[in-house]
């Protein structure tokens, strides 16, 4: 008798770690997440005196030091898509499903592996970006910096873990639905950037009633240390988390039902 924890989960982890592309993508995500953040911290520190007065009074030290995380997020989402799309592309999904006929168990194992990896990467990258970024900002004594116990900082670091896990899972679910890496990645990136691009053009009611419930705005409620309750897309951390979890759950349920209906998963 094979089990999820004893068999399917270790097998999915072996699959993910035994291809070089996984590690290439992780290193790329690290370089982008932390590298861009540190670079931006250097620029801010050097040009702090030149910033507009309102940006200095409400200076977002945490956000400044983690500015690269949004780009790293895209790369982690790619990882989630590749974890599954490559099986459909090669046809190896048939081997997977013939060894483990339970579609739900296969999807659960993939989801747990992607979510755990996404959470660890998000939290580690955010912590590195934050710590290095605060040290860099501190070079200029005029810049206010934060410690790990600063307001919203711990929530933000763990929030990045949750956000990367959530987008990894969305990408995974889209990859199962579309059986294609390109489609899954494009859809996930679209979901990440739709709020950012459309936000400025939409009337305030649409921003607060529609846009706020998109996964990226919802995730921001967790990953942004310095939340602005006056912002149109403000939901607060709890509602944001609930919204994000709902998106992921719905996407995974749709993916599972398609796996059950289709021939060869």
């Amino acid at each position: 008798m094979t089990t999820l924890v004893g068999n399917t989960l270790p097998a999915e982890w072996t699959k993910l770690r035994s291809v070089r592309s996984t590690w290439v993508v992780i290193i790329a995500a690290l370089v982008v997440s932390v590298g861009f953040s540190v670079l931006f911290s250097f620029l801010t520190e050097a040009n702090y005196a030149g910033l507009p007065a309102d940006q200095r009074t409400g200076f977002d030290a945490a956000g400044t030091s983690m500015v690269g995380m949004n780009l790293g997020l895209i790369i982690v989402a790619v990882l989630g898509a590749l974890a599954t799309s490559s099986e459909y592309a090669t046809g190896m999904i048939r081997l997977t499903l013939s060894i483990t006929p339970g579609r739900g168990r296969v999807l659960a194992a993939k989801a747990i592996v992607v979510a755990a990896l996404g959470f660890v990467l998000g939290t580690v990258f955010a912590t590195l970006a934050f710590l290095i970024g605060q040290a860099v900002l501190g070079i200029n004594p005029a810049v206010p910096t934060l410690g790990l116990t600063g307001p919203g900082v711990l929530r933000s670091l763990l929030g990045w873990g949750v956000e990367m896990a959530a987008f990894g899972l969305l990408a995974l679910a889209f990859a199962v639905m579309m059986r294609s890496a390109a489609g899954a990645i494009a859809t996930t990136i679209g979901l990440i950037f739709v709020p950012a691009i459309l936000g400025a053009f939409l009337p305030p009611w649409a921003q607060s009633h529609v846009l706020a419930y998109f996964p990226a705005s919802a995730a921001e409620q967790l990953s942004t240390a310095q939340l602005d309750p006056a912002a149109a897309t403000y939901l607060g951390p709890l509602t944001g988390a609930g919204t994000l979890v709902t998106w992921v759950a719905v996407a995974l349920v749709v993916a599972l039902s398609l796996m059950g209906k289709r021939d060869s998963g």
Binding site: M1, T2, G6, N7, T8, P10, A11, E12, T14, K15, S18, V19, R20, S21, S86, E87, T90, G91, M92, R94, L95, T96, L97, S98, I99, T100, P101, G102, D263, S264, G265
Partner: protein, 305 residues
Amino acid sequence: MIKAQDLTKRYGTTTAVDGLSFDLKPGVVTGFLGPNGAGKSTTMRMILGLDRPTSGSVTVGGKSYQDLPAPLREVGALLDAKAVHGARTAYRHLQWVAQAGGIPRRRVGEVLDLAGLGGVADRKVGSFSLGMYQRLGIATALLGDPPVLLFDEPVNGLDPEGIFWIRTLMRDLAAEGRTVFVSSHLMNEMQETAEHVVVIGRGELIADMPITEFMQRDSLSHVRVVSPRADELARVLAGVGGEVTRGADGALAVTGLDAPKIGDLALEHGLGVHELTPVRASLEAAFMDRTRASVQYRPTAEGDQ
């Protein structure tokens, strides 16, 4: 061990498998024959619970595949050898399969050696030749030491040495009491390996019988006779009940009389014979004969013999 009952699979208006029933016995190699597109792969996917039958059922050891507690220990399958991730090494590929199927890790090394891949275990699969892919697929199928083995076109891309290896392997596996089900569109291959055949065309069962029986067709076994006085000889043979047809090269194809009898008759009548060859029906010929109606794509201006 594998029992199909009225197994049917339709894709829209196309019927890939049509009311197929068979019952595979352990201890023999059963060949699964049919032209390309006959529904062999679809049937194999339905046995493995990958494709859902439109109607009918197929069971392994009396159970539906979905209900097997550890499928890899029950059924080993090679469907498409190239359906593996090329960036993974052979060892890592087998490692995840073993983990998923609940097979101890040491078995990975054993099947790699068994398949002759021991020396390339740490090479990426993407660098393999087609023959090495097939060997990896067979190693994967053998990982769980299962009592039932399914091979879909296993000799594709194998060199002569590889073909000999897999023929021997399949016969050995059957001799150990396992159920071995091997599909092929190459009839001659089955002639060397299978004891029993299940033949399908256009998704329908054409034959389910021992291979010797399948090949025993009077119209296909004949004696080829070349004689300088063929016309006279033909009359003599027809006179004692032989059925004689004349080929394009002037040779006679005789049925109903065996070679010694024909030789004796020719001597009796003083007719010279330059060639006297018993021609056994090949599986190929028997197959062509039985499936003629069910070949999906035929040239329209085909001259039947």
